[in-house]
Amino acid sequence: MEMEIDQSRDIVYHSYDIPSYFDIKWDTMPKDKRDALVLIQAKATALFAKRFVPFYKIHYKHISEDDIMNISSLGEFAFKLPVTTKRHLSENDAFDFLPDFVQIEEMINKGTGGTTGKPVTIYYSKSDWNAMAQHIARSIKFDFQNNLHELKGLNVVGMYHGDHVTNDIYRDGLKLLGIHVSGRVSTKKDAKSNYDFLQHQKPNGILAPPSDPSDSQTKGITLDEFLKSDAKNSSEFAYRFNNEINPKFKLIFWSSMPLPEAMLNYMQNHLKIPYIQGQYGSTECCPTGATCKYHPREFHIGYGPTLITVIHPTEKRLITENERGHILVTKTGGTYDGKNIVPTGTYIINLRTGDSAVLKNINGEQCQCGRNTPILTDLKRIEYVEVKADAGCQVD
């Protein structure tokens, strides 16, 4: 497949038959075909960045357009193009990562905290945002392929702090499945007042982060706090999360922090919550992986608007099956007017998130859930921890 990129700003992929990000083909197509599609997206993104994004014009000054065009594999993409670091993002103006022609009023601005250090601002254009929303919706749609009607009209409450990116992206993503997501209303931080809010709201599901064992993150009222408030609530007519007595409570979405096995066991086997799904992601690139029924604490990489590659810590190669490596993420696409296009918000190419993971199912074998995508497992944060902590930013 040849790639042609015209000189205009409207670089689109649709002529290469790139499926919609809402299409579950992404998770089942043969590995070679998917890698080829992803490579087209990644190269187009890099080429566009070199031409139109101030930071990358400089960052890629030693890389020619031909060099980018000649990249023949995802491994080459990871190593031929210099990595972007969190420091690059935090030490340069947010506008330096936006294409020259950007219409800033059309952007959704999501930043990392910056309460104690330098904040990082990420702009999502509408097309980038829509792509992310489709992506997150797809990961849930995959699990409900023949029962999508069950999701229609459900009400989920997002318990992240008001403007946290997770609440917003879930709201727009789940909307595509007919699920209504309302954000947390209370400004109080104690679990009890928020639990009282849920008692009034009576949702069919909640979206909340598991607690941070180091207690250093304040993303929202944690899932732990809600579940424990629920367990202790002695009111006879309380709205409970236990599916045996309240079959209306169906969904738990978690993100941001690892889910302890004991907690998963409690939700699955004691409360019998029918659907529990976790997302791996970052503020920079939003969702990049989702759990499945058979890997409830590991993440199938979700391709489309984001590309994840995992590189060997010391050698210049991608990792092989069951090896641990550093995660690189690239924002590879937006979707506009039914067409998949290169990103038009903040450009992130080969960003070292600071996370490391072991990669499984690298050769595209089919999981019992039906996906054949690689699985990120045993995620750890090994880099930037200090920077993240100093900057008080969201560690996703």
Partner: protein, 475 residues
């Protein structure tokens, strides 16, 4: 060697976990069973709390008569084989003879629960008794029959209960045996009431320091056994997180005996000898029963100066019969745990009374403690020791006795003796009885015996846990 598994019991299921300990006979190296104890994590604890919360409203619908019947039938299966007693005896060091007596006594009392229930609420002319809120109980480490005492009353009070054993975990075993028997009876008599299988939850939660942040819940009941210091700490911990409905504490087991000269004077030589022997036997048995670790065991005996010498001599002479032997031996007073042996030795060394400690060793060379009689001057004060230690003090007069006892309570930071036995003439008893600060006063009876029909430490647990609605009707 057989291994007995002590699992958590949560939401009607026995749960084994990856986190376990194998107690190779906790107390001594007897031939017997190993205890494999499975510990639970925070989320298992949350599941137990969730279960207790959910089951609570359902208990309202079950009649007290039915619960009493189920409890009564449960006693047919509870500790119904000798192996369980043998295992428990070996695990705890409590004498086999004592365990049979104590557990069977508690079983008989539970069998007669309708009577106890009626007596408890006899002053309530007309009432509707309904469930209060769930209960969380930490069991003591020195009385294995307490599990049944607590669970049975909680069930009758229609309060779902979470049991956490002491660190010795024997309480989990006795609770587990209850659950097995209870479930069997429900299956046999009334399978429709299967939800009652969730009324008891047993959690082997290891870390007591972390426990309270998870189990402190407003409007729940809490039962705790321990010293005033322990109780204060537990109350403070719970209050950090919640406001309980009731906190029911069974505190420091500080008990005494009093031998007045009037018990022995004016008797001829022969009768005096008989009486002296009888009194000293009663005092000694109350000080040594179940390794002297019963809450109602006499810790100190006050002896009038006129008879002090003969009583002390008699106590000393007779004490040799109260030996620490294999707990299965019919005359054994039980085995004090190695930790407690260490503690007692150290504490008595600090008191400069180490030479009075009757310490020996078993066949394997491990230190054991036999009944030890330890004299104290009027300026020295007794306290409770987890072993067969009896302090002996002399008093000059009634006022001297009361003064010394008051000071002793103050030093031990307790308000009342748990149990006081008086051996004296009836007139002396009648004079002193109103002046003694004690929960239970016994005349010419050993202090250690507990009658479950009476209040214990001034409390009726069933009454404390029960919620009543009084019904008033037109005449």
């Amino acid at each position: 060697m057989k291994t007995i598994e002590i699992k958590n019991y949560i939401n009607g299921k026995f749960i084994a976990t990856d986190n376990f300990n194998i107690n190779d006979n906790a107390i001594n190296d007897f031939d017997g069973c190993k205890a494999k104890i499975y510990f639970c994590n925070d989320w298992d604890l949350t599941a137990a709390i969730e279960t207790a919360t959910l089951i609570q409203p359902k208990l309202r619908l079950v009649s007290s008569n039915m619960l009493a019947d189920l409890l009564s039938r449960t006693m047919d299966y509870y500790f119904d084989n000798n192996e369980d007693y043998v295992f428990l005896s070996e695990m705890t060091g409590s004498p086999y003879r004592f365990l049979r007596y104590a557990i069977n006594g508690t079983k008989e009392w539970v069998k007669d629960f309708k009577n106890f229930y009626t007596n408890t609420f006899r002053s309530v002319v007309s009432s509707y008794i309904f469930s209060s809120n769930p209960t969380f109980a930490i069991l003591p480490s020195n009385a294995e029959q307490i599990a049944l005492f607590v669970i049975a009353q909680s069930i009758m009070a229609k309060s779902s209960i979470i049991i956490r054993s002491s660190s010795r975990n024997a309480g989990s075993f006795t609770s587990m045996k209850f659950v097995e028997a209870w479930n069997k009876v429900i299956d046999e008599l009334n399978p429709d009431l299967h939800f009652l299988k969730k009324i008891v939850n047993i959690v082997n939660y290891k870390n007591i320091d972390d426990l309270w942040q998870h189990v402190s819940i407003s409007d729940w009941n809490y039962i705790c056994f321990g010293s005033r210091h322990t109780i204060h700490n537990v109350i403070a911990s719970i209050n950090q997180y919640a406001t309980p409905r009731k906190f029911i504490d069974y505190g420091y087991g500080f008990s005494n005996s009093i031998v007045d000269s009037s018990a022995l004077l004016n008797l001829d030589h022969k009768n005096k000898e008989v009486m002296l022997n009888e009194i000293t036997q009663k005092v000694l048995i109350s000080a040594t029963e179940n390794t002297g670790n019963q809450c109602t065991a006499s810790d100190v005996v006050y002896v009038h100066k006129d008879v002090y010498d003969i009583v002390f001599r008699s106590l000393k002479q007779n004490s040799v019969k109260y030996k620490s032997l294999d707990p299965k031996h019919p005359e054994s007073i039980g085995i004090v745990s190695p930790n407690n042996v260490k503690y007692i030795e150290q504490a008595l060394t600090e008191l400069n009374k180490r030479e009075h400690l009757n310490i020996g060793s078993d066949a394997n060379g491990k230190k054991i403690i036999h009944a030890s009689i330890i004299p104290l001057s009027r300026y020295e004060y007794a306290s409770e020791y987890p072993g067969p230690i009896l302090f002996v003090k002399s008093y000059d007069s009634e006022s001297d006795l009361l003064q010394q006892m008051t000071k002793e309570l103050e030093i031990n930071d307790v308000l009342k003796y748990l149990s006081s036995s008086v051996f004296s003439s009836k007139s002396f008893f009648n004079t002193i009885a109103p002046k003694l600060r004690t929960y239970k006063l016994k005349y010419d009876k050993p202090s250690h015996e507990v009658n479950l029909y009476y209040y214990h430490q001034g409390k009726n647990l069933l009454d404390e846990l029960t919620e009543l609605t009084i019904i008033e009707e037109k005449y």
